[in-house]
């Protein structure tokens, strides 16, 4: 039936998607010298996808997503140090811990304006940062937890210096969780999230339990961010305070916005663009790369993401101005009943 086909179209795998993933998995082989950055991008990508679930689909802005990343990182580190060096187990424990934190923290993001949410999420992350600093008997304070050795992935693949195992490990986890996220956003559950993002009042008026949905998606996203943090620790062998830092949340937000919010591949694209760009420019000018990165962001916004990243539109006339799609006004009350 046509309606059914139309409804399913969005969720169907596009031909370019498997190609893209094949390319991603080929990258560590094609560019063996860049396996480390592939690993880093995979982790950042996972983190950005997790933020996209919250921001792009749930409509909740957050400047404190690093809270979950950081918790995942530290839990993995502690697990390895005190319990068992198995990376898979550690990853699951990281996700569980982050999910618990997400569940608890989700109650802080239900009310208020976007600005409120920005600040509350940020505050939660910074408090965790302070905690990690103060509980130095557990976390090693500013020195962090260093020199961790995780056992081989799948019992066979040692984490090597060139970072190939790390890259494949992170890419696999990314793919797995990405597919789960993809399922979620195209499901009826995902549709109710979009409904909440677009119009909370109306979502309530068709019987969607807005708060319960937000709690659920926040928890899921937190678990994914926790996985990213776990990967971070496992592939680098340490966890230190900066996993909770403000800039980690902020950079991820930038990546996501660069790639496009409310589109799962946006987070991945943003991570690739941002990281490669930073690596490339800072290789050229170690002191002033910030300037060029900043310039890129400014131009990106002024020219428009579409026009900048799709060269074939350069010679077309600007399409008639239409209202921007994306996250709603930052300062408006997310609404709903008090």
């Amino acid at each position: 039936m046509k309606a059914q086909q139309d409804l399913q179209r969005a969720s169907r795998m596009k031909p370019w998607e498997p190609v893209l993933w094949l390319l991603a998995f080929a990258a560590p082989l094609l560019f063996p010298t860049h396996a480390l950055i592939v690993n880093e991008i995979a982790i950042l990508g996972l983190f950005a996808v997790s933020l996209d679930l919250v921001l792009g689909y749930g409509g909740i802005v957050s400047l404190g997503h690093a809270a979950f990343f950081g918790l995942g990182a530290y839990v993995s580190a502690l697990f390895c140090k005190h319990v068992h060096p198995d990376p898979h187990l550690a990853l699951l424990v990281s996700m569980a811990a982050a999910a618990l934190l997400g569940l608890a923290a989700s109650f802080t993001i239900l009310r208020g304006t976007d600005l409120t949410r920005l600040m509350v999420t940020l505050g939660v992350a910074l408090i965790l940062l302070e905690l990690a600093n103060k509980l130095d008997w557990l976390t090693g304070g500013t020195d962090g937890i260093q020199g961790l050795v995780f056992s081989p992935v799948l019992g066979r693949f040692e984490f090597d210096l060139a970072g190939r195992t790390a890259a494949y490990y992170s890419l696999s986890v990314l793919l797995l969780l990405f597919l789960v996220a993809r399922r979620i956003v195209h499901s009826p559950f995902g549709a109710t999230l979009k409904a909440i993002r677009d119009n909370r009042l109306r979502a309530m008026a068709i019987g969607v339990p807005v708060h319960a949905r937000l709690v659920a998606v926040y928890t899921i996203a937190a678990a994914m961010a926790g996985a990213a943090g776990g990967l971070f620790t496992q592939t680098s062998g340490f966890a230190s305070l900066d996993v909770f830092e403000f800039h980690r949340s902020a950079d991820t937000l930038l990546m996501l916005v660069i790639g496009g919010v409310g589109w799962l591949y946006g987070g991945l694209a943003g991570a690739v663009v941002f990281k490669l760009m930073q690596d490339w420019i800072s290789g050229i000018t170690q002191q002033y790369w910030g300037f060029w990165l900043g310039l890129f962001l400014v131009v990106l916004v002024l020219v428009g993401r579409d026009r900048l990243l799709k060269p074939w539109t350069w010679w077309r006339k600007a399409s008639a101005a239409r209202p921007p799609v994306g996250a709603g006004p930052l300062l408006q009350d997310g609404g709903g009943s008090e």
């Binding site: 600005l115 940020l122 408090i127 902020a250 660069i258 900043g294 310039l295 962001l297 921007p324």
Partner: protein, 287 residues
């Protein structure tokens, strides 16, 4: 402890001047200008460089910092910011962070990355003791300037039509213009004024907060806290929020130094959970 209260008020006032421009652009113009700190930094560097290199007196530098930053704000508004008013907030975030990155690197390139140190005139360096209350002259000066500024701002926004014309323009540019409001001029002057305030704040704050190229990033969180807690719809909101945070921070660090950074963040979270729209919201309808 009166001295602690005094220090807290001075610190809060300083935060207020630094953040009030942001409250204006963000609260009234509904534009997320994370580059606010970059304007503050500009004001700071204008002052420091004028004093160091040209020996301009401090008191002359302050208005110059205001005017210089306001001019910069006006130029940027005309050239870069204007098309962004209609873009989604996240694009505004991206854009203004990009500006911050550029400003940080540019200052680093031209001035260097070391902390700039300002030499205050002698009459601002002293300290007056009245009983148990010790007041640094510079902090006294900050309080005086900020108080004057608050009164002036309050007057402009409450007693003139400018405030409501600005809000009208933000609510609906097209219709506001159709009702005879020169929207472009209103935005330009507001933005320039907000930037100027940031510049003044930067000039005043360089002495207490330090000044180096990472200033805009380092203090962005503080500005945002003040604006979020104070609410974006008035001037008194951010003022009281800044004072509250200033006093709480200073007193907290004095009495329970172990709690360090926890205090400000916890206070912020508690307030925002209690009053999600900030302490002071424009409500209307309370006839």
């Amino acid at each position: 402890m009166l001295t602690i209260l005094f220090d807290g008020i001075a610190y809060g006032m300083l935060l207020f001047v630094l953040a009030v421009g942001l409250a204006v652009t963000m609260g009234l113009m509904n534009f997320i200008n994370l580059a606010h700190g970059a304007f503050a930094m500009t004001g700071g560097y204008i002052t420091v460089l004028l004093m160091q290199r040209l020996d301009v007196p401090f008191l002359v530098c302050l208005p110059l910092a205001f005017a210089g930053t306001a001019l910069l704000g006006a130029v940027l508004e005309r050239t870069l910011y204007r098309p962004l008013y209609r873009k989604p907030h996240l694009d505004q975030v991206l854009f203004s962070i990009g500006l911050v990155f550029m400003a940080v690197a540019a200052v680093d390139y031209y001035v260097g990355s070391t902390q700039q140190i300002m030499q205050l005139p002698q009459w601002l360096k002293g300290r007056t003791e009245i009983g148990s209350l010790g007041m640094g002259h510079y902090r006294l000066f900050i309080i005086a300037v900020c108080a004057a500024l608050t009164v002036a701002l309050q007057f402009v926004l409450a007693r003139t039509r400018f405030g409501s014309r600005l809000r009208a323009s933000v609510d609906d540019q097209r219709v506001a213009a159709g009702m005879g409001i020169n929207v472009n001029l209103v935005f330009l002057s507001t933005f320039a004024f907000g930037s100027g305030l940031a510049g003044l704040g930067g000039a005043l704050g360089a002495e207490v907060l330090g000044l180096d190229p990472s200033f805009p990033l380092k203090f962005m969180i503080y500005f945002l806290i003040v604006v979020a807690v104070g609410g974006t719809s008035s001037i008194t909101g951010p003022l009281l929020a800044a004072l509250l945070l200033g006093v709480a921070d200073v007193a907290g660090k004095y009495y329970i130094p172990k709690m360090g950074a926890f205090i400000v963040y916890s206070l912020m979270i508690v307030i925002l959970l209690w009053k999600p729209n900030g302490l002071f919201v424009r409500q209307g309808g309370k006839a």
